[in-house]
């Protein structure tokens, strides 16, 4: 039947070509959208989420509540009319009792490691240049148990700041702006003190402009000293043996203290939400295009079956049973689906290569440089192929079934 199916399709070249184009277009759009969306997603997951601990315990920012103050100073419920009600943060956000968390985390069997950090906003200065930046104090030995920051250190090593002594690893973009080289010093000021010199031991490059042009890593105690906040911790990153436990454990731990406890997926909820929206939009767009293409197949096969009634009668009279007639038209749908899908995958792939090679210019607003990141993961192509072929099979089922139900006599009589 394959022989006849191919001959049928070749005998209607223009129709066949248009349908192939329809299916191909659907598949192409799927590959391009998936390539772009998943490329961006892979980047975000790798660069941003891999730097996120499974669970992050951080300080809750607490605002001054005029009612609390009123109760403290005027407990007898007298009427107070504030001329200027007290407002603002109670103090700099920090974990209330970090030592308690450390002891607790050490006892947890699911915890692989934890790393305390203290971050503060600073002014970086070097000769005439001053730049706002954020310095994060870490303990390198503990930090590498929970995040992949070390992977992005391109000059020097995290060990260079492990012993303290006012040493820093600076984002390469930020260092470039200051005109400083590795081995030289920069000055950091936390606002409540003098400028403190720090020696630049290395640089890191995460590929995210926002981070590479503002962030500095230093030893935890050096940063605490700089901010005049000894012993203060702003976050604790926790690594678990099983990432799936992050959600339930974070929920459980958040009941134990006033601090904020978030699992990685909640912390990146905005990204997860974007991914979901991307998935839905991709499915809707692709489905819409494939439905149109499937209707095309349905229409073409229905018309073809009407045109080929005589042939169906001849085939049945010379011994081709209904199931082979059905096979004949189903095969045409499958051939159209397979060829259209392959065409679409090829066009989609090469379009993505082309899109990925477009230089958007050095000042592009993209977080990862001047070219779009495209995903070429095999699952995109496999899913694209399966969806196109399935749509084609479903679209050809009804006409093929209708053709198989015809009897030679019905056709002969209708022709007379």
């Amino acid at each position: 039947m394959l022989f006849l199916a191919i001959r049928h399709l070749l005998s209607k070249k223009q129709q066949t070509f248009l349908i192939l184009l329809g299916i191909g277009l659907g598949t192409t759009v799927y590959v391009i959208i998936s390539g772009l969306q998943l490329g961006m997603r892979e980047f975000l997951v790798e660069r941003l989420m891999s730097n996120t601990a499974h669970i992050k315990i951080s300080a809750k920012e607490r605002l001054i509540d005029p009612k609390d103050i009123q109760k403290r100073f005027y407990p007898d419920d007298s009427f107070i009319d504030w001329a200027v009600p007290p407002s603002g943060l109670r103090d700099e956000a920090h974990i209330q009792y970090p030592q308690g968390w450390f002891e607790f985390l050490r006892e947890q069997p699911d915890v692989l490691g934890y790393s305390p950090a203290f971050s503060t906003n600073v002014i970086l200065s070097r000769s005439e240049i001053t730049l706002p930046s954020q310095v994060v104090g870490i303990q390198p030995n503990k930090e590498r148990q929970v995040t992949d920051i070390e992977k992005y250190v391109n000059v020097g090593s995290l060990d260079d700041i492990a012993a303290g002594g006012s040493k820093v690893i600076v984002g390469d973009e930020l260092l470039k702006k200051t005109g400083t080289r590795v081995g030289e010093s920069i000055f950091l000021s936390a606002g409540r003190g003098d400028k403190v010199p720090f020696k630049v031991m290395g640089t890191f490059h995460m590929g995210v402009k926002e981070i590479d042009s503002t962030m500095i890593f230093a030893y935890l105690e050096d940063v605490q000293k700089l901010a005049k906040s000894p012993g203060r911790i702003s976050s604790i990153s926790v690594a678990l043996a099983n990432i799936d436990l992050a959600g339930p454990l974070a929920e459980q731990w958040s009941l134990m203290a006033k601090d904020k406890v978030e699992s990685w997926d909640v912390a990146n909820a905005n990204f997860m939400q974007i991914f979901k929206i991307q998935d839905i939009s991709r499915i809707i767009i692709t489905a819409a295009i494939l439905v149109v293409a499937a209707f095309g197949i349905y229409n073409v096969l229905t018309i073809m079956i009407n045109q080929k009634k005589k042939e169906i009668a001849i085939l049945q009279s010379i011994g081709y049973p209904p199931r082979m007639i059905m096979e004949l038209f189903l095969l045409q749908g499958i051939i159209l689906g397979c060829c259209g899908a392959v065409l679409g995958l090829l066009i989609g792939h090469f379009s993505n290569v082309l899109i990925g090679s477009i230089d958007l210019g050095a000042n592009s607003a993209l977080p990862f440089g001047n070219k779009l990141i495209i995903s070429y993961r095999p699952s995109i192509y496999i899913i694209g192929f399966i969806v196109a072929v399935m749509a084609s099979i479903i679209a050809s089922l009804l006409p093929a079934r209708a053709a198989s139900k015809m009897t030679p006599l019905q056709i002969i009589r209708s022709e007379i």
Binding site: L4, R7, Q316, I318, Y320, P321
Partner: protein
């Protein structure tokens, strides 16, 4: 083996309109029989019933000792493929296949077209259209197309050949060629041939003529 009709009645429509009235005929093996009659006499309906394409409203029509109404779909189609050859008046060939591919179409049903290719070519040669083997139906004349159709009906060397007005769309010269071919093959292969025709000359060329008048077997009076 032969073709037998016992009290075959065929009705169509609602209220039922009787087309064939109590037909009782026997067609012997190797016989060349023509079924003739005026338009609407039921000759094509009778042919479709005895050729397994249709079934009677009542009565029994058997072919080769079997009742097609009792066969499964696969058995029926296998029977048609192996034992029956059809020639119709119109719409005979698949336009996207060459003459030879059309001839080999019944053999392709079970993937036997390679084995039958030489025979197919020899049939086309014998019918004077050997040089047209690779032509498409659109490139052939009506007479040539009908010869291809006869070659196709013979490719499986069937025991029965049913022809429904095989000369109906042809001029007298081509009609004569087609008739000669059918008679020749009937003699050579001993196939049973049943042909419907409204042309008295051609009907008379058969071994026996069954004349239908208003759905009943009758004797020709015109």
């Amino acid at each position: 083996m032969s073709i037998e009709c016992h009290n075959v009645i065929k009705e169509f429509g609602n209220p039922p309109q009787r087309i064939l009235h109590d037909i009782n005929i026997t067609i012997n093996s190797g016989e060349f029989v023509s079924i003739s009659g005026r338009s609407g006499s039921g000759k094509s309906t009778l042919l479709y019933i005895i050729s397994t394409l249709d079934s009677p409203s009542s009565g029994i029509a058997t072919i080769d000792g079997a009742n097609p109404a009792e066969m499964t779909s696969d058995e029926l189609h296998n029977f048609r493929n192996k034992k029956i050859g059809f020639v119709f008046q119109f719409h005979n060939l698949l336009p996207e296949l060459t003459a030879l591919e059309n001839v080999l179409l019944p053999a392709r049903r079970f993937g036997e077209h390679k084995e039958h290719e030489a025979y197919g070519k020899s049939l086309l040669e014998e019918f004077g259209i050997g040089d047209k083997a690779n032509k498409f139906p659109g490139q052939l004349s009506g007479g040539e197309q009908q010869r291809v159709a006869i070659a196709r009906s013979l490719i499986m060397e069937p025991e029965y050949i049913f022809a429904d007005e095989p000369t109906g769309s042809l001029d007298s010269k081509n009609g004569r060629i087609v008739m000669d071919l059918l008679i020749k093959k009937n003699k050579e292969l001993k196939s049973t041939i049943v042909m419907v025709t409204h042309e008295a000359d051609f009907a008379a060329m058969a071994d026996r003529e069954i004349y239908l008048l208003d759905g009943r077997v009758s004797s020709r009076t015109d």
